[in-house]
């Protein structure tokens, strides 16, 4: 019986090519849109997290106890070279960056603002998170005798600074004295991390150590881990190795980012459900119509003695074939769009200001995961199944002769 139903289903699809093609195109386009949207949403949040990890927290950061509660130079990491030596013994660490920072006041001839002076090693930051790629203007260096500084793009804008502008930074040193130091802007950075872009001035580690009267000290040592799965393991090892130091993962340092991700996931889910319902209704509608418009044909089959189960199987096989071919075409189109969006990205520079306010990039890149395609498969499968239930119920209830005589439907 399945053989005949199968044969009839194939014939029906093949000999009504235009209708079959329309249904397949409709399913494929809905699905490709669904996949593209999912990848783009995930890509937005992944970009946000990656930017934060690259520009600041790494996967793990070390802080002196209490520093995060009281950002005073009394709570900093000392004997940094000893810590670095120990870090080299831990497996799974790809790179690390030592940073020293102090909050203070940045001033130009016309304006002054609260800011953070960050001492970094350009070379290490480059290895750590390709920091040089964040340079939007000027050069990625501290100039002659390390008298230059890199500045966050938003802060530079607020202070009307450009390459070559001179700034004075005033802050309290380790002895409690208020000191000032001047720098010339050598580069402007746009990291995509609002905390850095709006608030930070980057100078050489030697310069800030001298300015703050500190040696062998750091406020943060940020680490990059080889494998994302190793983060917790490396954290545990470091906690054993440095019992008097705070060893924190990026998600512990940026709980807001996790909240944002959770909110985004809920938002994504809601959007996904809406798009899925629209796509499912589309698939449902098309298959429903394709079955209903052939109610007379099915009634003829029933009238001449075809068992209901065979007609039912034929309808299910037809809908499944349409759903499956539509899925394959949609998955292929979706894959192409995801590959394109994950490599070339989508240029949304016309909305740049709004997007950057929330830390999103103006060029959005999509994520691509295998599970998208499994989810999409089940989405199409259920939509297809739902779409045949109603016509099958009608078909079960009707008297074939009434449909044949045009008294029903």
């Amino acid at each position: 019986m399945y053989k005949i139903a199968n044969h009839l289903a194939w014939l029906s699809l093949w000999r009504r090519k235009t209708r079959s093609l329309m249904v397949i195109i409709m399913i494929a386009l809905s699905l490709a849109g669904l996949l593209g949207l999912q990848g783009l949403y995930d890509g937005m949040i992944t970009h946000l997290i990656n930017t934060t990890i690259r520009s600041d927290s790494g996967e793990i950061s070390l802080y002196a106890k209490e520093y995060r509660l009281n950002k005073s130079l009394d709570h900093i990491l000392s004997s940094v070279s000893q810590i670095e030596k120990k870090l080299l013994t831990v497996e799974g660490i790809k790179s690390y960056s030592v940073r020293l920072q102090q909050e203070g006041l940045i001033a130009t001839a016309h304006k002054s603002l609260g800011a953070t002076l960050k001492g970094i090693s350009l070379e290490r930051e480059q290895n750590f998170g390709q920091f040089n790629a964040f340079t939007t203007k000027g050069t990625y260096n501290f100039g002659e005798k390390n008298k230059g500084a890199l500045i966050g793009s938003s802060l530079a804008k607020k202070l009307h600074l450009d390459i070559g502008s001179r700034v004075v930074f005033t802050a309290q040193d380790a002895t409690g004295e208020i000191n000032s130091i001047s720098f010339r802007i050598s580069g402007i950075l746009k990291t995509g991390n609002p905390a850095l872009d709006e608030n930070s001035v980057f100078v050489s580690m030697g310069k800030i150590s001298q300015f703050l009267n500190l040696k062998e000290s750091a406020t943060q040592i940020a680490l990059r881990v080889n494998e994302a799965d190793n983060i917790k393991k490396v954290q545990k090892e470091l906690q054993i190795l440095f019992p008097n130091i705070d060893v924190l993962r990026w998600d512990e340092l940026y709980p807001l980012l996790i909240q944002m991700r959770d909110i985004m996931e809920i938002f994504n889910l809601a959007s996904y459900v809406i798009v899925f319902i629209v796509a499912a209704l589309g698939i449902f509608g098309v298959i429903l119509v394709s079955v209903l418009e052939r109610m007379r044909e099915f009634s003829i089959m029933l009238a001449i003695g075809t068992p209901y189960n065979m007609v039912r199987n034929q309808i299910i096989i037809e809908a499944s074939l349409l759903g499956f071919i539509g899925y394959m075409a949609g998955a292929f189109l979706g894959w192409i769009s995801l590959v394109y969006m994950s490599t070339a990205g989508i240029d949304l520079r016309s909305f740049e200001a709004g997007l950057e306010m929330y830390g999103y990039s103006a060029i959005m890149y999509a994520d691509m995961h295998l599970y998208y395609f499994f989810q999409a498969f089940f989405a199409v499968f259920f939509a297809t199944l739902l779409s045949v239930i109603w016509p099958l119920r009608i078909l079960k209830k009707i008297k074939p002769i009434q449909v044949i005589q045009g008294k029903m439907l």
Binding site: L11, E297, M301, G305, I401
Partner: protein, 224 residues
């Protein structure tokens, strides 16, 4: 086949209530060649549908070989239609995605005849009905008369015990009507297939061995 006190009321209890058949009592013997006749709306098609199990009576009983088929479930009735009854509808009602060859062999396929048997029977019927050249065509590609001949071939292909034909000549010219009736007479005589028509076509009435006249759902005349 015995029909006892068959009545059929459409929309019972509603203002639109229509009594289509009233107290029909008839017996059909094996090998009959009978026509249910009457004006349009007299109830002949309704009676034919009830005989074929395509519709159910509001009251009354139908017996086939002493077995009450009016109490059959839909599934059992479908099985009976598949095995024992061939239908010829006024509007042909072929399956449009199947070729002429596939339409003729469709019921045989459902009855699990092997492909060779089906092909032999299809060619035999196609030759009798002169539709050999149409076997590869879809119903939409052939004329009404040709479609009706295909419908006849489909109805008789599996050699059912009973053939029910509703106005089979209504859309045919005289030549095709003659050919169709000749074919059904031959089946009736050679294979003792019982044939019941619902028709008011004079040519069909002339060919019939028995005529049952209905008027407003009541049998008003019955004769040979």
């Amino acid at each position: 086949m015995k029909l006892i006190h068959i009545t059929k009321t459409f929309y019972p209890g509603s203002p639109k209530e229509v009594k289509a058949l009233t107290d029909i009592n008839l017996t059909f013997e094996k090998g009959e060649f009978t026509t249910l006749s009457g004006e349009s709306g007299s109830g002949k098609t309704t009676l034919l549908n009830i005989i074929g199990g395509l519709d159910s009576a509001t009251s009354g009983q139908i017996f086939l070989d002493d077995e009450e088929i009016s109490a059959y479930s839909e599934e059992k009735m479908a099985k009976l239609r598949l095995h024992d009854i061939g239908f010829i509808f006024q509007a042909y009602n072929l399956i449009h995605v199947l070729t002429v060859r596939e339409n003729i062999g469709f019921i045989m396929k459902l009855l699990k005849f092997d492909d060779k048997q089906i092909e032999t029977r299809v060619l035999e019927l196609a030759s009798i009905l002169q539709i050999e050249d149409l076997l590869h065509k879809l119903p939409g590609e052939i004329s009404g008369g040709q479609q009706q001949r295909v419908a006849v071939a489909r109805a008789v292909a599996s050699r059912p015990k009973l053939i029910l034909a509703d106005e089979p000549t209504a859309n045919l010219d005289s030549k095709n009507s003659e050919r169709l009736m000749k074919m059904l007479r031959m089946l009736n005589e050679k294979e003792h297939v019982t044939v019941i028509f619902a028709s008011h076509d004079k040519y069909v009435l002339d060919q019939s061995k028995r005529i049952i006249v209905l008027d407003d759902g009541v049998v008003i005349d019955e004769g040979l």
